[in-house]
């Protein structure tokens, strides 16, 4: 069913990772990504794996959920892996057949690229699994707020993101309902060529847009009724505060980054 699409994939919990300040978590994710791209030895990548493993174990997210987040990107991982395998021709030749040549350099790059992508997905998924979308946009607003000096609408952008996230499930549900209603009137969404199928979408898209506009108008009215006047002078119910654990986490991440850089230099691999 269409409802199975998860966009906000927050997995509620009370672990240390969940409780970290979302701003710090964003920062940690950036450090982690840098770590992955700086690493060009297996030892460096191993440090990345270790960092990921520690965060994952601390978060208490089931392994199944993590695997689920990798699954949809598996074709891309395989595709890049295979491309690297065949098109990189450095190192010793391990296998040759006609024009196909597999070299040790190709194998190394393939393993490297694939694990980098997997680690990247795991890291960012961990961020969205442990941080609710609303807190995440809050954090983004706070991180971007210094840019207000140059008239950057940080609050407005964060509010727009919050509203968009809030309405994704609602609109999915709505689409589901409209699809059922039109199917009940004999709409055929599954057969015919591409033009017929595109045409069959009209009875779904028009009501969907109409309802999205109606909701937008109602929401704007409701916000105005509650005296919403933009970000100026607004206080928050939940203040973001950093705690000692946030500094510890940052220190650990920086140490790992340093380790990766050092390993790049001195590791034989």
């Amino acid at each position: 069913m269409i409802k199975d699409i998860t966009l906000g994939q927050f997995f509620p919990g009370k672990s240390v990772i969940h409780r970290l300040d979302p701003r710090i978590k964003l920062l940690l994710t950036v450090i982690y990504i840098v770590m992955l791209f700086v690493a060009d030895t297996f030892a460096g990548l191993g440090a990345g794996v270790l960092f990921m493993l520690i965060s994952f174990l601390l978060s208490g997210i089931p392994l199944k959920m993590m695997l689920k987040s990798i699954k949809p990107l598996l074709p891309i991982i395989l595709f890049t892996g295979i491309l690297n395998l065949f098109f990189i021709s450095t190192g010793d030749i391990l296998f040759e057949w006609g024009i196909i040549k597999i070299t040790s350099g190709g194998v190394t790059t393939m393993i490297f690229m694939a694990s980098r992508i997997v680690l990247l997905i795991c890291g960012t998924s961990l961020l969205t699994y442990t941080t609710s979308p609303i807190t995440l946009t809050d954090a983004i607003e706070r991180i971007l707020s210094p840019l207000k000096v140059i008239k950057f609408p940080a609050h407005e952008i964060a509010m727009m993101m919050t509203i968009a996230l809030r309405f994704i499930p609602t609109l999915i549900e709505e689409t589901d309902k409209i699809m059922s209603a039109q199917k009940a009137r004999g709409a055929d969404l599954e057969s015919g060529n591409i033009i017929r199928r595109a045409k069959a979408l009209i009875p779904i898209l028009i009501p969907l847009f109409v309802s999205a506009f109606r909701r937008a108008e109602e929401l704007a009215l409701a916000m105005e009724c509650r005296c919403y006047r933009g970000g100026e002078g607004r206080t928050r119910l939940k203040q973001l505060k950093t705690a000692p654990r946030d500094y510890v986490a940052t220190a650990v991440a920086v140490l790992f980054l340093a380790a990766v850089i050092v390993l790049n230099r001195f590791s034989p691999l």
Binding site: E174, K177, I178, S180, K183, R185, G186, P203, I206, P207
Partner: protein
């Protein structure tokens, strides 16, 4: 065998996830042709899920559904055909309107059935009359109409398919009392004129009581009972424990009977109650 029959129908949402929920649990039903049935139950009792099985929008997790003697999902290529026998009007059906004119919107269903233009035109005019839409409204945009009118256009869109069974999910939700009476009135008229089977889903006992002859009570994904009005309302204590109520006027008259006033019939509507009171008063006066 009735027009709609289910055997041990079970439907589970989100099987294999932490959000698993049994929405319909082992429902076996047999609804006769030409019946006008009210389906009641509080929110989340499985009414809406149940009716979506009747035209194959949902596939049962286990169990079988028969429409007009034919099993749904036995042959996938027949599904569309069977679907045309069961017209389903969803909650807030006006949200599905999309065409430029009311006429074209009502035509959507009949066109999908592959009917000729002449036949489509006949059906549109007939249903428009049935739901009380004036001719000149047919050329207007459905988005210019009032809420009640939009709803009637949407209902007409399903009626124009002339299904053997018409199912309406909360057709009066969000309407004012006048709009509500109007919709219920036209459903009754449609039933009287066409003689087709009508299923009316609602959580308003008042609405159901004055419109239908038989009532199906759903509770916690199961059928609590399926019987005629008076035997259902006789179980007022059980209904109350399920979060449902017997119509106010029925309660008043039950109380009057307990107080020793004698009359034969069960009272379900205010109109009928008025007549009865007048008659009783006239008798008393001699």
């Amino acid at each position: 065998m009735g027009i709609i029959r289910t055997e041990n129908l079970t439907y589970v949402y989100g099987e294999g996830t932490p959000f698993r929920k049994v929405a319909v649990d082992g429902v076996s039903l047999d609804i006769d042709e030409g019946e006008i049935v009210g389906i009641i139950g509080h929110t989340g009792s499985g009414k809406s899920t149940l009716i979506q099985h009747f035209n194959g929008l949902l596939k049962p997790t286990s169990g079988k559904v028969f429409i007009d003697g034919e099993e749904l999902f036995a042959d996938k290529s027949r599904l569309k055909e069977i679907r045309f026998k069961v017209g389903l009007v969803f909650q807030y059906p006006e949200h599905q309107l999309f065409e430029e004119t009311v006429y074209k919107d009502i035509a959507f269903g009949p066109k999908n059935m592959g009917l000729s233009d002449g036949e489509t035109d006949r059906r549109i005019r007939e249903t428009a009359r049935l739901v009380g839409l004036r001719e000149e409204l047919l050329e207007k945009s459905p988005f210019e109409l009032s809420g009640g009118q939009k709803r009637r256009v949407a209902i007409a869109g399903v009626m124009a398919m002339e299904p053997k069974v018409l199912i309406l999910d909360e057709p009066t939700a969000g309407l004012d009392p006048r709009g509500r009476d109007r919709i219920l009135g036209l459903i009754k008229e449609y039933h009287a004129e066409k003689g087709t089977t009508v299923l009316l889903v609602s959580h308003s006992m008042e609405d159901v009581a004055k419109t239908v002859s038989k009532i199906l009570v759903m509770n916690d994904a199961k059928v609590f009972m399926y019987s005629d009005r008076s035997s259902v309302f006789a179980k007022s204590a059980e209904l109350t424990s399920m979060g449902l109520t017997v119509p106010q006027v029925t309660r008043v008259f039950d109380r009057l009977r307990e107080m020793g006033i004698e009359f034969e019939d069960e009272v379900f509507s205010v109109d009928y109650a008025k007549d009865l009171v007048m008659r009783l008063l006239a008798e008393k006066r001699g």
